[in-house]
Structures are given as C-alpha cells and as structure tokens.
C-alpha cells in the first residue's frame, strides 16, 4: 500500500467479520481501545506525552514556556481595552469576569482543536507502534488542561490582588473544571474520528469555534442579552460552564440545580458518546492516516 501514497488513503472493509483472536492484546484492543493488558504504563505514557506537548508548544520561541501564561494575558488585555474602555461595558469585577471567560474559552478552543488533530499529528507514532489510540487524544486534552491550570494561577494572582476572597463555594470550581474536561475530551474524541473520515472537519470546527466564541458569554456580560434569550443561550453548555464558574468564584453563589444538572448531563453524555464512537473506529486509525 506504500505504493499508493498518502493522497490515496485506504479504507478498511468494515463489514468483514471480526477476526477470532486469542490472547492477542492488540486485536482485543480493536474491540476495546482503552485497554491493553500488556501496557503497564498507560497513565505514565499519557502524562509524558501531555508534558512533552506542553514543552514543545512554544519550542524555539525566545520566551518559551512563558507564552503559556502570556498569551491569555495579552488576549485579555486586548479584549479589556476594547470592551471596557471603548465600548464602556460596566460590570462589577469585569476584569476578573473577562479573564476567567477567556481562560475557559481558550481551553475549550485549544483543547478540542488539538484533540481533533491528535491522531493526525501523531501519525508517525501510530503507524509504527501499537498502543491504545485514545492515549494521544487524552494527552492532547490533558496538555491543555495543564495549561489552563497554570494560567488559572495568574487569574488567582489578580483575584487576590483585587482584594477578593474565596468563599465556601470555591471548591465547586473543581467540579466545573472536571466537567469542562469531560466536555473537551468528549468533543475531541468525536472530532478526532470525524477528522479521520473527513479532513475538512478541522475547517468546520474552526468556524464553529468562532461562532461559539460569540454565542457564549466570554466577553460580554450576560446582562446585555435580553432575558428572553437566556434559556436559548444556556442550551449551549459552554454558557453554563463559564457562567457557573464565575458565580462560584466571583460571586460565591451556586448555580441553579436545573442548570447544573443540564451541564453535567450534557458533558458526561458527550464524553460517553465520544468514547463510544472512538472505540468503534480508532483501531483503524493506522490505516486511514
């Protein structure tokens, strides 16, 4: 098949019967890609790939790793100048409000984009080594989660510098981050499989993210949107995730039970769907890359 070249990807037959395989871990992994009884270092490998990606992200740039923190800060500065100074949005704690929104949105955008591309970017490894393919997507989402956690420390510097204090509700922010991770991983898994089949998934997703940026209250306060559109806005789980994190950290109050339940079910459901679809298709990744 090497002769056929890259532009002629070979699609495997899907209707052929599954091979009867005994005691062969890779083939059993074709049925359940998340497990490999011979692979004893799963967590270590995923973490190492994530840390390597983080390390390589700004490789060669003068400021290197500092960009992980600088980039969201610069983004924040630009948005703040535009919306606070020029457009005169006046909300209490708008700086912190905006910074938190930007950080969470960046995680969703970068995490899903990278997760979607993970199989393609790691094609050189996937075609040469067997390991459960989900690792590369896990590593991508984890790498950006680490970046989020790092940049959250910057948020907390500003937070305490502004004289604010954490309330008893603050630990719930961890739940929000966990749900955020589930959402990003679920989307990544779905997108990664779609991207295997249709390479323009990445273009479409880029547009979707641009729309999502404005359909979620990242830069604008929810109050500027008429009340009657709020339900519609909250159908987008990102609205809830951003808004509830702000409630918990900035206001020290809790989101509504219905809203929290909706976001939880949506995120977990997306993750389940992602795992299911990925499990069905990922074992063919080496052939389609």
């Amino acid at each position: 098949m090497r002769l056929l070249g890259r532009r002629q990807p070979l699609v495997p037959i899907v209707d052929s019967p599954r091979p009867a395989v005994s005691s062969h871990p890779p083939a059993s992994a074709a049925i359940s890609p998340a497990t490999d009884p011979q692979r004893r270092n799963a967590a270590e490998l995923v973490l190492r790939m994530a840390l390597t990606d983080l390390k390589l992200r700004y490789q060669g740039s003068a400021l290197g790793f500092a960009w992980t923190l600088l980039k969201p800060l610069m983004q924040f500065a630009v948005l703040y100048v535009v919306f606070s100074v020029f457009m005169r949005i006046s909300v209490e704690n708008y700086q912190l409000y905006l910074l938190l929104g930007v950080l969470i949105w960046n995680y969703i955008a970068d995490g899903t984009t990278n997760g979607m591309m993970a199989l393609v970017q790691k094609a050189n490894i996937i075609k040469k080594v067997y390991f459960p393919r989900i690792y590369v997507v896990l590593a991508a989402s984890l790498h950006h989660l680490l970046a989020l956690l790092l940049s959250l420390t910057v948020f907390f510097v500003f937070f305490f510098a502004a004289g604010k204090t954490l309330t008893w509700a603050a630990p719930l922010a961890l739940v929000a981050v966990a749900l955020l991770y589930a959402l990003v991983l679920g989307l990544s898994l779905l997108l990664a499989v779609l991207h295997l089949k249709f390479r323009d998934t990445s273009q479409i997703w880029e547009l979707a993210l641009m729309a999502g940026f404005f359909l979620s209250p990242v830069i604008y306060p929810l109050q500027v949107i008429p009340e009657r559109f709020h339900t519609l806005l909250f159908l987008n789980p990102v609205t809830g995730l951003i808004q509830y994190t702000r409630l918990i950290l900035l206001d020290g109050t809790l989101p509504s039970a219905a809203g929290a339940l909706y976001v939880t079910v949506f995120s977990i459901g997306l993750l389940a769907a992602g795992l299911w679809l990925f499990g069905r298709h990922a074992h063919l990744a080496a052939e389609e890359l």
């Binding site: 992994a29 270092n41 190492r48 390597t52 390479r199």
Partner: protein, 399 residues
C-alpha cells in the same frame, strides 16, 4: 511445533481503495451521498505460520509483497480482516527504531518519551537510563537537542532504547539497514544475546545476508500470498533462483545457432593498442580498442554485436554489446569498435569472443576465442585488476 511464540492462522488483510477519492465533505455531498465504490486490494491472503519460541524468523519478499503489512498485524497496528494471530508473552509493539523521536527534545527527554511509548515505566527508565546512554556512547550529549545529532548518533540512541523494551517477541523491519558496520555488529551481538535468553525475533529484510545468517526459518511472500515457508537456505534458494522472470535464450558455447547459415555472422576481430595498431601485448592501464567485423545476408540493422573478454579458464571478465549504446549496425557489413580508455585488467591472458544476436537475444552467430591478448603488469601495481587508489602513511597518535 512444541512451543510456538507466534501462531498465525489464515491471516488475511484487505484494503479497500475508494474508486473516487472522497476525503472531504464537499466531495461526499457533491456525489449525492452515494455509497462509495471500492476497489479491493488483498494485501495478505491466508497466511499461516508458527514461530518457535527463542528462534529467529525471517520474512522476505519483493516490494509490495505484504511483508510490512504482516508485521503490522503481528504488532497490532493493523487489525486483520480474517484469521487469527496469537502471541505467547509480550510482543514489542514497534516496528522501527526511534519512533516518536522529536528533534526539538534533548536526548534525555527523547529516551524517556520513546521508552514510555515502548511500554517502560518511569522508574524502569530511571534505572536503565545510564546504561542506555552508555550503550549509545552519548554520555557527553545527554542534554543536547536531537536535531544536533548525526544520523549515526540518532540510530545508536534509538537502538539502545529499543533493546530495553522488555519483550519476549521482537519485530524488526529493515532495522539492520541502518548504522555503520561496527554498529550493525553490536546489533547482532544483542540479537544473539536475546536469542540465548529465549526471546524470539521476527526479521523483515531485503538484506538476504542477514536473513541467511540469523534466521532459522523464513517465510517468502509474493503478492500477499505464501510462496515458501521453511528452513532459510531452501527458502532463499527459491527466492533467488526460481523467480527470474526473464531467462535469456542462449546458444551452446562455440556453436552456430541451430547449424543454419546465420543471417548475421562474426567475421573477425582485432585488438588495437593506444596508437590504433593491431597488438597482442598491451601494458596495463594503457588505452586500447577491440574491433569486431561482421557480415550480413540482407540487413544487419536490427542485430546486436556482443563482445566478451574472458580469462583462459573461460571466466567472463567483461561483456558489452552495441545494444547497450543503442547503436544500429550499418547494413550488410561493418565493424564495431569498442574503446577502452582506461582498462581495468591488471595482468594476464585475455580471450576475446564475439557474437551477433537479435535484439530479443536470439543468437545468430557466435565465435569463441576469435582473438587474444596479454596484459603486462605496470610498475605501480600487480594483480588481476587495476583500480584507482590512493595511499599514505598515518603516524600513530601522540600519547
């Protein structure tokens, strides 16, 4: 087999090649969501074999014969469409050295990453790290980025990590083609150690010498099917000799083809020295030429005139023909002149033979021993052949 490390039964792999490639949504929509039509390509069909535990098993075949696909199935990178593979013990999940090496990472980081991909735990890598670097002879470069490494350093590092992957069965694809001779020797020493430790090796290679030296049994694949499976020597014989697609028709030595008067005949030949005079003795290295005269009944334009130089025992030293230069002989009669500006014959007696044949290798006429000459050794060298050389004395290094 009492204790097979690998058992493959009826393994098949079919790839489906979309007739119209439809990789983007637009193409899919434009085609009206129709089901794609496919060409099926059987990369492997009904492959069955066993590999004895602790042995070395070779897989050979020409390009596109399915060797790498089979190895990928054994490694679990591709799932098979048919049949089954079972492996006793842990199989190395990789086919190439240095998978996942990143040029922007240091040797240290690459070792950790690569070893993790190969299945080692962090504390195992910690424990083996110094040994890995020492084996690769890269102690001074541990924290250098990989992109500054020579290809030799790269390979040494990769190999040093690979041999730490704790597997019972190792799969190696053309791995021996890399590195210098000393390093290849080091690789084979490790292989031998693996063997003595009871590990199993599956080797895919175009290098028949490695296969012959190291593999007890070999599988020969052609077009995805098994051609031969058995002791390496037998399989290699079959691979080398049986599959010559083109066998040249040859007239027996010293006879005219079929005894019929040939349409094109060799009439005579001369050996000329550097001044163009007929000679029987030449000095080694001096320019020379050989002329072959032919005659034809009707038209010699489609004939090829062939010249052969041999030693007195009949061993061919050199052969050349006018077809190689795409020359067309003038009709009816003529002379082919072959010039040797710098002949490589060092010394000895040389026998000249010539033949006329058609372009499809049917011999018209053949004259063995139509001429001969002696080459006298020059002052600068002796021996059968002359070759361009240079030499110098090297002082021992200062202590």
């Amino acid at each position: 087999m009492a204790n097979p490390a690998i058992t493959a039964r009826g393994v098949g792999k079919t790839f489906v090649l979309p007739k119209e490639k439809r990789e983007t949504l637009r193409e899919w929509v434009a085609s009206g969501f129709r089901r794609m039509s496919y060409d099926r390509f059987d990369a492997l069909r009904d492959i069955s074999f066993e590999v004895e535990s602790g042995s070395c098993f070779g897989i050979i075949g020409r390009n596109g014969s399915g060797k790498s696909t089979l190895l990928k199935i054994l490694a679990g990178i591709f799932p098979p469409n048919a049949g089954s593979v079972s492996v006793q013990g842990r199989i190395s999940p990789f086919l190439e050295l240095g998978v996942g090496f990143n040029p922007d990472l240091s040797a240290r980081d690459n070792v950790y990453l690569n070893a993790a991909v190969l299945g080692l735990r962090t504390r195992e890598i910690d424990a083996a790290f110094d040994e890995i670097i020492a084996f690769a002879e890269l102690e001074r470069f541990v924290d250098q980025k990989l992109k500054n490494f020579s290809s030799g350093m790269h390979v040494r590092l990769a190999f040093s990590v690979a041999i730490k992957a704790r597997a019972d069965v190792y799969l190696m694809d053309e791995v021996l083609a890399v590195g210098d001779l000393v390093f290849q020797q080091k690789c084979f020493d490790v292989f031998r150690r693996f063997r003595s430790e009871g590990r199993t090796i599956v080797l895919v290679s175009h290098d028949l010498a490695s296969i012959r030296n190291y593999c007890e049994r070999t599988l020969y694949l052609r077009d995805g099917k098994m051609v031969a499976l058995g002791p390496t020597a037998e399989v290699l014989d079959r691979y080398v000799y049986e599959d010559r697609a083109v066998v040249l028709p040859q007239a027996p030595l010293g006879t005219d083809a079929a005894g019929i008067r040939s349409p094109v005949r060799i009439v005579g030949a001369r050996v000329l020295d550097r001044a163009g005079r007929p000679q029987r003795q030449l000095l080694a290295g001096d320019a020379m030429a050989i002329e072959v005269d032919y005659a034809a009944d009707s038209d010699a334009a489609n004939a090829v005139i062939e010249l052969t130089l041999a030693d007195p025992r009949g061993t061919v030293l050199f052969t050349v023909d006018s077809g190689a230069f795409d020359l067309r002989p003038p009709a009816l009669s003529g002379t082919l002149r072959v010039s040797f500006p710098s002949p490589a014959i060092g010394a000895g007696h040389v026998v000249v033979s010539a033949a006329a044949r058609s372009r499809d290798s049917t011999i018209f006429h053949r004259r063995d021993h139509i001429g001969e000459f002696d080459v006298l050794a020059g002052a600068d060298n002796r021996g059968l052949v002359r070759m361009p050389v240079s030499a110098c004395f090297v002082s021992p290094p200062d202590h």
